[in-house]
């Protein structure tokens, strides 16, 4: 035996194996679109909670954008909304963002991604975006058009007309006091007044109530004042708003256990007639118009603007409006890839029409005038057209951390386990 010779050979082989293993350990997914040549697929990172975008893109890939799809087939990956921000940060850190992705829950994160050069300022590619949507996006992103508006929403309180009428509420409540009185009446009759999610990150359903109450009580600049440092969420008037919502929770108006209910269950509870009210954005129109999901009938769904609060300076015509679940374009994936650019152009040109036609979804894109829409969608289109002053949601100006903490504690507020003061203290401690 010649040990030296063998040892050398073996050493070299072992070294090579180790290198291969370490290279494999450090390697990426292999789906690299940064090489300058066109990416193999047109990838979109969707969220489980929104099926309309994926459905519309799939329709586009088969019809209006079939040519683009042949050159670069659409590939949809799904992610839970609660962990979307983590996923985006991880992908951006690895330079592996797909060409199209659902914009982060916290607008501040999308801004960070843009500052880092990961997100395209879509102003130059979005001539089909409606001015109202463009203006909303720019107010969120410091004058930049960082996302495409696959939705153009107003938010408010939807109600089951029949359930209210059956319980003697013939006129929809117009003020906060009337609304709370209606909750009490329904509760006494054994009907769950409000269906709202509060499980984990879905607690935004409850925190929307807090934000709107603040805006009705103190006017449309109340949350901006907190962002600018002119006021604190722990100031008495802000705590009073959170206390008003905690009182609804304590009375059991949000149902048996909002901390156990996720978005889909909350919506399903309302659509199966098990709850009278739900706070939701007009993005839910696609579900309201879907008779496989909506068991109470679309004609039975009514819309209320968040009511005015006694003594408050905010008014009901100041509408919570947003572009909902928007999508962002990866700068790296877009630039230098003609196929991706063609896909994006096709989406901007056709998304609005297809989403409205097939899902009754109102988007921030221009649509063909000939599309027939259901009555409820028409009513909401009119409401959107009438919006004079739009206001943002509770967490709109928060950091990613404060957004997570706020929404994670929303369920506890909705179940009455947290006082308004404790809730506001917890959020304030994490505002950063």
């Amino acid at each position: 035996m010649a040990p030296h010779f063998k040892a050398k050979n073996l050493m070299a082989a072992a070294g090579a194996v180790a290198l291969v293993l370490s290279a494999a350990a450090c390697g990426g997914s292999g789906d690299d679109s940064s090489s300058g040549s066109s990416a193999k697929n047109f990838s979109f990172l969707a969220i489980n909670e929104n099926t309309t975008i994926a459905k519309t893109l799939t329709t586009l890939s088969q019809k209006e954008c079939a040519t683009q799809n042949t050159a670069q087939p659409l590939e949809i990956k799904n992610q839970a909304q609660a962990s979307l921000d983590q996923q985006l940060q991880l992908l951006a850190g690895q330079g592996a963002l797909p060409q199209l992705f659902t914009a982060a829950n916290a607008p501040s994160l999308t801004s960070q991604l843009a500052d880092n050069g990961s997100v395209l300022d879509a102003a130059s590619v979005s001539e089909g975006v409606l001015p109202a949507a463009s203006s909303t996006i720019k107010s969120l992103y410091d004058g930049k058009q960082l996302v495409l508006p696959t939705e153009l929403n107003i938010e408010g309180i939807w109600y089951n007309k029949k359930l209210l009428a059956d319980n003697g509420i013939t006129t929809p409540p117009a003020t906060w006091d009337e609304l709370v009185a209606a909750f009490a009446k329904l509760q006494a009759a054994g009907v769950q007044p409000i269906s709202q999610a509060g499980k984990g990150g879905d607690g935004w359903g409850v925190t929307r109530w807090v934000g709107n109450y603040i805006l009705r009580q103190q006017g449309p600049d109340a949350l901006k004042k907190v962002a600018d440092g002119q006021a604190k969420l722990t100031d008495p008037q802000y705590v009073a708003a959170a206390d008003a919502i905690a009182a609804l929770g304590k009375a059991g108006y949000f149902g048996k256990s909002p901390t156990s209910i996720d978005y889909a269950t909350a919506l399903n509870t309302f659509l199966t007639g098990k709850a009278a009210f739900i706070y939701m954005g007009s993005w839910a129109l696609s579900d309201f118009n879907d008779d496989t999901k909506n068991k109470i009938g679309v004609d039975n769904v009514g819309f209320l603007k968040f009511p005015a609060v006694t003594g408050g300076v905010g008014t009901a015509d100041q509408m919570p409006a947003n572009v909902g679940t928007a999508i962002a374009i990866s700068k790296k994936g877009y630039e230098g890839d003609a196929n991706t650019q063609a896909w994006v152009k096709c989406i901007v040109d056709n998304y609005g029409t297809v989403a409205l036609r097939d899902s009754s979804q109102i988007t921030g894109f221009a649509t063909d005038a000939g599309v027939e829409v259901p009555a409820l969608t028409k009513e909401i289109q009119t409401e959107i057209g009438n919006v004079q002053t739009s206001v943002l949601w509770f967490e709109a100006y928060f950091s990613a951390k404060a957004t997570t903490i706020s929404q994670g504690n929303g369920g506890l507020l909705g179940s009455g386990q947290l006082t308004g003061e404790k809730f506001m203290q917890t959020v304030t401690a994490n505002l950063g």
Partner: protein, 295 residues
């Protein structure tokens, strides 16, 4: 064999590849993470030198004591539970279920091989309160009680987490301790029995001292696993309600990857590392003395 292990090149050949891979995937990231503790920011926003600011923040962070306390509480309760229940099962296998032992062992071991997330979903459904009533609450209501919203309060959520993790891993510790109990000579037990020692006396004077080494190993395994617990808690409660069931690992993950603060996340990781080191030193110092006593 001696000639091979005496040859430095052979030793390098045998250890080199594993050491290289270990260094690349374990030591380098650990040192890298340690370096992050002196920076603030993320891969997206970029990093800036923070000096010892992250350590000062650690002292002022109101969320840290809660996460630290939960981690310690979880590690103690689950470790005691896993090892005690596992030991009880092992005794059952050896002294009471000699014939049916293998079937029971297989059944009890089964949860060990199930994916953690699947077990968490199972327990979520099992303890469900709304919109459906889970089997546990249905049983409570059938007995005339009132259903409990298990995941809405810190105490009951912790109870479900503990039950799940003990149930999930007790089979592993039962098998581990069972192997240790099999090493105890039958003759010794028979002699004790002939001398009039009852079952409890035999367990106390023979079984416990002789199975102490494997008990200590089980404790080390268990504490190691419970201090690092992440997936089961994340899948079952997501750290909630609020942040009531958030251990250090989950807080570290949220800070780094959800809040985009890698530097502070690494500082939390360092806290966990120090905690693990302290526990390890404590156990090994204690066991060295105990095992010396046994010998």
């Amino acid at each position: 064999m001696h000639s091979v292990l005496g040859d430095r090149k052979s030793v390098a050949l045998l250890l080199g590849p594993a050491l290289l891979v270990y260094s690349l995937i374990m030591l380098v990231p650990m040192l890298w993470s340690l370096g992050y503790t002196f920076f603030t920011g993320s891969v997206i926003s970029g990093f800036t030198w923070a000096g010892t600011a992250n350590f000062s923040k650690l002292l002022d962070d109101p969320a840290l004591p809660a996460a630290l306390w939960f981690t310690v509480k979880y590690a103690v309760v689950i470790t005691v539970g896993q090892v005690l229940v596992g030991y009880g099962l092992a005794l059952l296998y050896v002294y009471f279920l000699r014939r049916a032992g293998s079937i029971v062992r297989t059944l009890v071991f089964f949860p060990v091989v199930l994916p953690t997330v699947a077990v968490a979903l199972l327990f979520q459904k099992f303890f469900e309160f709304a919109p459906q009533t889970g089997p546990v609450n249905a049983a409570i209501e059938a007995l005339g009680g009132t259903g409990v919203d298990w995941f809405s309060t810190p105490g009951t959520a912790f109870l479900v987490v503990a039950l799940m993790d003990i149930w999930r891993s007790m089979g592993f510790y039962a098998v581990l301790l069972y192997a240790g109990l099999l090493d105890i000579p039958d003759e010794m037990m028979e002699a004790a029995s002939m001398d009039g020692a009852g079952t409890w006396r035999q367990i106390r004077s023979i079984v416990l001292p002789l199975s102490l080494p494997v008990l200590v190993s089980s404790l080390v395994f268990s504490i190691n696993g419970t201090l690092k617990a992440f997936d089961s808690i994340y899948a079952l409660t997501g750290g909630g309600p609020g942040s009531a069931t958030t251990p250090l690992t989950l807080y570290m993950y949220q800070t780094s990857f959800a809040y985009g603060d890698y530097g502070y996340g690494s500082t939390i990781a360092l806290t966990l590392t120090v905690l693990c080191l302290m526990v390890t030193i404590f156990i090994f110092r204690g066991t060295r003395r105990d095992l010396a006593g046994v010998e």
